[in-house]
Symmetry: C3
Subunit: 363 residues, 3 copies
């Protein structure tokens, strides 16, 4: 991808200094930049790096003296982190998939594929699947029977999209993700040990788990527009109704979404998050890596869950949580500090017990 | 799948009211049911939904007045959750894999495939692999050399079954699961820092970790009958003897089973559970999502481990555990409540220290 | 693989007793050994097993009387665990991939493949990819455009190696691993709720998360020599610079490495470890299963993190940690013991409060 500095300035809404006609083919940290790289030096710590590298153009911190830094062109952007989105979009070549259907792909005659599609080697598209316009489907992906995929999809290598899954427009799916596997749902003829343990909050029980019988999954998966799913993540299909992922929600790698789960819009689920069956997660929620959420509960809008929070009960909208079990983050941090002080606290209490005269046994 | 209400009643052992000849093609929540759906209204909360939807037949709660609800047929079942297993089995069309061997599949001439098999597109079956009768193997699955797969297997897309893995009858494997990867086993020429840290329970040590040398895996994997493995789960092969999964045990998605692990029968391992090398897990155990189990320990029969329990030491049979580290669930819940009260407790102790006269320093 | 006991003795640096010409084809636990298996009886507990099995040769504990045990040959090794690496390497047949390029594979004409390669069924090698000498690439693996793979690689079934990923020599990759997926990086036009929650350590905030915009990944992945990656693990590419894995570092199954992460040399990351974006992990680090590491932090050389440690802040070199949040292991163990004693402590404090006269309210 080749752009002039002026084109980049325009795309980012950046202020341009110097020679806008310079050509850029990539972005780089300042110290390792080549002559056609745009160096990213958004704060003064990077000044030294600029002279180590060979960049002729850079994005600089506000107020930097680009000429003194030896540059021929410079950009200044209002919110550097946000500028990264525009810049990287410009420079990303995307996966290389030849237009049309690769000769080794297998597309069922009853499937429909929209115009402008690029379907890679060894792709499987099953009976009656419908794929929208401009789809890019990389090698080894599978789209099972009756699946529906909107326009402008980007499906990376080895993705598995199951039967009857329905996905909106502009879907991006990283390699190895599995959408629409069967839910994990088993039932015993009699009440099981698990049902008992839950009802009694862990009191010992005589019930045993045996003769697990499978509840099949008929409900499929429904995914909105502008959703992304990370590498090797799994979204199971619902039992009777669909498992649902709302518009603009993004899942990182190795995320597990159980059957019947409903995730709202604009939500981010980071690496290795797991959400158990039938739980509802609101809009604009952010769960950091390794967060776990119990089944059949509700996590409200705008909740932020810190790393590895283990959420056992409903979380009201807007709460910021952390911990195992998850609680308000500030509460966790305070209790956690105190927890490390426990040994000293135990000593204090012991000393107090010695200092305070014991009441007589016959009081 | 098309069934009469009468057929469904018979299959579920349900009591039938009204017109048993009605035809059903699917199941649905009451409010979204179409005229050929069986509405699932197993408790009175669903009564309103029934009038919003178009169902003519429903499974109802015991004592419901089906005629007043505007239905033409109704079923009542003794244990509604259990009835779901029979009902969904009836209505599940299963994956669509054409009978026979797909022309794009590669089956090694030395492999044997039982009668009635359906082997999908791009499937790989290696040298001397043996596949039982009626196997359904979806697109892109691999069955490596010398693997043995029993009768009636259902292998979903992209599953990897490694060399010399042996699996019983009626195996169900969700997409992307990997059975028989190499175990994670490395050793240093001298005692390593990890061995030292373990032996000393975390005391600082001078030993360093270097020159990790690979211990190869020769032991394979042995899986019993009626086992299920979830999407993208991994079961590593053993070092010298096999890693073993007992009859009727079910694994959810993204589960990790280390080398030499032995899991008993009728056990459920939920999403993202991880079991480290050489650990034994008993029969009828249930581990909720994200449970972690240390290596080289033992988890007894009938243990139930709540969400994200981190099990470091042996757990006796029948125990219900929770927490990090895992302890008896009621003990965890009590300590956990108190943990949140720590700030107040610290204040109390501080006040007590002020209130109690200090003994002289030279006491 | 067929070896004489003498060859094995030489390879392991073992002391040989008895008939070195005996032929060995496998290794086994003593009780289940066949006549051509080398029984592994490295401590006296296995003595009984030897008479149950049929082994004629064994590796024995130091000082064992091999003749009294009924053996024809015996080996004694200085460090039995270390001997396992040499022994299993000798006996591992490796995956069966026919030399040359399988007729069903698709290798782009612009790709280069070194001498001695074995490329399996349905393998995809993209434009301009470069694969070193003696590569063994199992069925269904993908090597995307411009990827570079060193000599002697062993790539198992269904591995996805993304565009521009660069990997050193002797790489071993288990099935389903994904190297070079896009990083999980989104930004909002205005400061987001997450940025606020972090800055305020969890105080409630009015900011909301919306309009997540994608930051594309341009940085690729760079992997050193002698690295191993486990089944279904994921290593995301960096944003601007590469995500890096150092020489001789080993990853277990289902590990997640976020974008821009740098992992040093000789480090072990066990099953289900997750490392969030831009974090640096030193050399000779060992992280046990399910450890989680925050983004943008630093874990020093020689750190050992116990099972499920959740590391939120920088860890200095050499520390042994455990817990959520992670702390020094001995500190965690002590606090953890005390935590279980909390109920008793609460009772003690309550009793003390009753025993100590309250100061007057108007003090």
């Amino acid at each position: 991808m080749r752009h002039t500095v002026e084109e980049i300035a325009k795309a980012l809404g950046a202020e341009l200094f110097g020679d806008g006609s310079l050509t850029i083919t990539g972005a780089s940290e300042p110290a390792s930049a080549g002559p056609e790289d745009l160096a990213l030096a958004m704060n003064p710590d990077y000044a030294a790096g600029l002279s180590d590298g060979k960049a002729r153009a850079a994005i600089l911190w506000d107020g930097a003296d680009w000429q003194a830094l030896g540059l021929e062109a410079a950009l200044v952007v209002p919110r550097p982190r946000y500028a990264m989105s525009g810049l990287t979009a410009l420079l990303d070549p995307g996966p290389e998939i030849a237009p049309g259907i690769h000769p080794t792909a297998h597309v069922d005659p009853s499937a429909t594929v929209g115009g402008g599609a690029a379907i890679g080697a060894f792709v499987y598209v099953g009976p009656r699947a419908r794929i929208g316009a401009n789809a890019r489907i990389a090698n080894h992906a599978s789209i099972a029977e009756d699946a529906v995929l909107g326009d402008d999809a980007l499906i990376h290598a080895g993705v598995r999209i199951g039967a009857r899954v329905r996905i909106g427009d502009r879907f991006i799916c990283q390699p190895g993700a599995v959408i629409g596997a069967d839910g994990f749902s088993f039932v015993t003829p009699e009440k099981s040990r698990v049902e008992d343990a839950r009802a009694s909050l862990g009191k010992e029980t005589e019930a045993i788990n045996a003769s697990w019988t499978r509840i099949h999954s008929l409900g499929g998966v429904e995914i909105g527009d502008d959703v992304e799913v990370g590498a090797n993540s799994c979204i199971d299909q619902g039992t009777i109704r669909a498992t649902r992922i709302g518009n603009r929600t993004k899942l990182d790698n190795l995320v597990h979404i159980g059957h019947n789960v409903e995730v709202g819009e604009d939500t981010l689920l980071c690496g290795q998050v797991g959400i158990a069956g039938s739980t509802r997660v609101g809009n604009r929620v952010v769960m950091a890596g390794q967060v776990g959420v119990n089944d059949n509960i509700f996590v409200g809008d705008d909740v932020v869950a810190g790393g590895s929070s283990k959420i056992f009960t409903n979380v009201p909208a807007g709460r910021v949580v952390l911990g195992y079990p998850a609680m308000k983050m500030d509460q966790f941090l305070e209790a956690s500090r105190n927890w490390r002080r426990l040994p000293r606290l135990m000593d204090d209490v012991k000393a107090l017990k010695n200092a305070v005269p014991k009441p007589g046994k016959d009081d």
